[in-house]
Symmetry: C2
């Protein structure tokens, strides 16, 4: 026991010693991390930029606003002094909501005719100038739908699946409910349904509908699909209880236009010692066509731009190449991500890490990482420095939709801010600049900049 | 080296084993922690209660609203099924802002006469029906003030000390700037100043003034004191630059009334095995007389009430006594805290822990603890359970103004939510119910309830 104790003490002292050495060895890093945080928090450059980006308005792929956003981002990268800035083309879908989207609840039995607020799901077809009027059938999962089978023919299927508010991780709750928005049309079309209404996938109990992508299959009939707010979803459910033959009249002007050419916006600071080793920092430039895409993913755009900007403002010349990639079309096709990954995985450069911010601009909490255990330990050894920007942990886990397409990166890293408010506003009119807090946003920029800096100086 | 490796492996396995045992041993705890989180997040009971409390309006000690709040809290404790509920009397100061508070900036040189928005600091005297008109002298610290010495006689001293926005810990930034609000009058009165204006101690750049306590000395003349918003502070500073003899006219109706009797509101669930061992959970029921005291400290009141409520809703009968103490008069005297501490430190009960929530109702991040290292380790061993409510760390550090008066408690524990938004609203008209997020508030209740439960079951 005594020998064990000696070794235990030796082990503890050794651990202490190596930890000390590491931190002492990073005295310079310590200093730079402090400066990064102080500069971000005192200058609020990114916050001002987010105001500019949000003023353009929502930026759906193929839209005029998306073109404006591309020009804006390119000029930001040029003006901050990136070594090179370029546009990487990609074909994107071009969907338009159109002028009008209306829904009327019709219950002859209850003598009730009430307009309800809807938002077409992204990609939905319109109702062809006419109104689609059909009975509504409520279901709570795909099994119920399958059991109904032919009974839903020519009906509107109402997926009334609540966001599980008891889950602490709102992204898990979203993941569980969103399949009805994405695949609901597909499953309903198999049985000849005429349309789909989904309960918005949101944590906020009000009447603002939340849009998002949905999928059609070439082999099945395309039917229109909308989301409604939670209050109307509960109301509709109550009415169905009272009148099984309640109808909804739906009028949508949505159009799927021919694909157009769009671009990832890319800028980089060349590495001084290992220019061929690339660290990507990225978010997506497109947004849904409601709100302003402030948190989703204006925040990620700003975080990524500000990494380069903070390097330049502080005169940091990274050993490895630091590249900001603002992906186009994350929301409805990930075409930008696919284009960039194709380049990354075939180029002679080596992508050592890719960091994505696509969970909003709230207070930093951690990084979620996909890598080997040795690299994970290296990243974790930097926690005392990352903690200066409020990073409390680094865990293995999911990273981000855009970077996850890059197969050859040694580490894929997702920035994880506090997530309690995110799905209140995600994909809705709530996602506006005033919902972003300057300190919280800037701490995100600082956290990602410190991590990028450490990877660029120390390698992984 | 080989032997060392064996021992190292043994050590690691042993650590693993004991950690496992602990978690396995807490299978029941695990289950209860889950239920606490799920119940808080699904029922939002505390959030609804906060809405009720905020509807009463601000609750400064001695005010009519504070009496309403005491009645409200007492009835909440009775209705949730506490074993006993009582009021502990304490004498409190009774200060009233009065009807009018006005300030006029007067620059004859610039031909400028502009009203500026002020809020009297808590405890300030009024201007006695008249206007106090005097030249303004700007200072940035106490040394500057002392160097001016007699030159500030009969002048209004303007403490223009910015909140340090580069500090990541907003409570540290507050601590550095707030001394000018608290002691500024005292220092200025030493040199015969006529009044004091302070730049609001806030992280939010707008024109809303933030109040807070200030101190007089019996040996010095009492002079009126106000706070102004950051925009007006910068404006005033600019004007002083252009006209050194700029004056401010100040009219305040504040009154210091005779002390009145008020109360701490206390309720408890008796311990089944060690009823004499007490765990206090508390926040303060009083608030400043602007806004609604939603985050400061409505949130702490709700957290504390909800600990008892969640125990009752889930049928948990704690081994040790769990006592909710809603302290009166934290904001301007801590009389409730002193009264409770006097009782706690002399009673035959043993206060094993006191947990305070007085940093707002934002997402939980950690607990800051004053205790011995053994107890700290015990608390830390519960992190896997506390993490279910978003608690990422337990660190030694400051705890809370109310509980810190209890000298004999084994552990004093401060709940630490995310602090980036807190000083935007603290002590101002911004501190209203709509700034509180239901999930964030309820996770705070859940975090404190889990910790209270573990202390009550395991002891410390």
């Amino acid at each position: 026991m005594k020998i064990f104790n000696y070794f235990l003490i030796f082990f503890l002292v050794a651990t202490q010693y190596f930890a000390q050495t590491e931190i002492t060895g990073t005295g310079l890093h310590d200093n730079i991390a402090d400066k990064i945080v102080q500069t971000a928090l005192s200058e609020w450059t990114g916050y001002k930029w987010l105001g500019e980006l949000c003023k353009i308005g929502p930026r759906l792929s193929g839209s005029e606003n998306s073109v404006k956003a591309i020009k804006w981002a390119k000029s930001k990268l040029e003006n901050l002094g990136a070594d090179s800035v370029w546009l990487q083309p990609c074909k994107v879908p071009h969907w338009e909501r159109g002028e009008e989207e209306k829904a009327l609840l019709i219950s002859d039995k209850l003598n009730l005719y009430k307009e309800i607020k809807v938002t077409a799901l992204g990609g939905s077809i319109g109702t062809g100038g006419d109104k689609l009027i059909a009975e509504v059938v409520e279901v709570h999962n795909f099994d119920e739908l399958k059991n109904l089978g032919d009974k839903i023919r020519d009906k509107i299927v109402f997926y009334n699946v609540p966001f599980d508010n008891t889950t602490i991780n709102t992204f898990s709750a979203y993941g569980k409910a969103v399949k009805y928005r994405v695949y609901g049309v597909l499953e309903a079309a198999k049985f000849g349904a005429a349309g789909v209404i989904v309960r918005s996938v949101t944590s906020k109990y009000d009447n603002v509908p939340h849009t998002g992508v949905m999928l059609y299959a070439d082999s099945l009939k395309k039917i229109p699909a909308v989301a409604i707010g939670l209050q109307d979803a509960d109301f509709l459910s109550d009415i169905i209880e009272l009148d099984k033959s309640v109808k909804v009249g739906l009028k949508l002007d949505c159009k799927n236009l021919p694909e157009s050419t769009s671009y990832n916006v890319i800028g980089e600071i060349k590495g001084t010692e290992h220019p061929e080793e690339v660290i990507v920092v990225g978010g997506h430039l497109d947004s849904w066509d409601v709100g302003e895409g402030a948190h989703d993913d204006g925040a990620g755009v700003i975080h990524s731009l500000e990494v380069l900007s903070l390097f330049k403002r502080l005169g940091i010349r990274p050993k490895r190449t630091v590249r900001c990639v603002l992906f186009m079309n994350e929301e409805n096709g990930s075409r930008g991500a696919k284009a960039y990954a194709a380049l990354a995985d075939t180029s002679r450069e080596k992508h050592i890490a890719a960091i994505e911010s696509d969970r909003g601009g709230f207070s930093p909490r951690g990084f979620s990482v996909k890598t080997d255990s040795l690299t994970l330990n290296t990243l974790r050894s930097w926690l005392p420095l990352l903690n200066k920007a409020l990073i409390d942990w680094i865990k293995p886990g999911g990273t981000g939709a855009d970077i996850s397409k890059i197969k050859n990166a040694k580490a894929l890293i997702g920035f994880v801010p506090d997530g309690q408010r995110y799905f209140d506003l995600h994909h809705s009119a709530h996602d506006t600049f005033d919902k972003v807090h300057p300190r919280e946003l800037e701490l995100g920029s600082a956290a990602i900049t410190i991590l990028t800096y450490l990877i660029s100086e120390e390698g992984i």
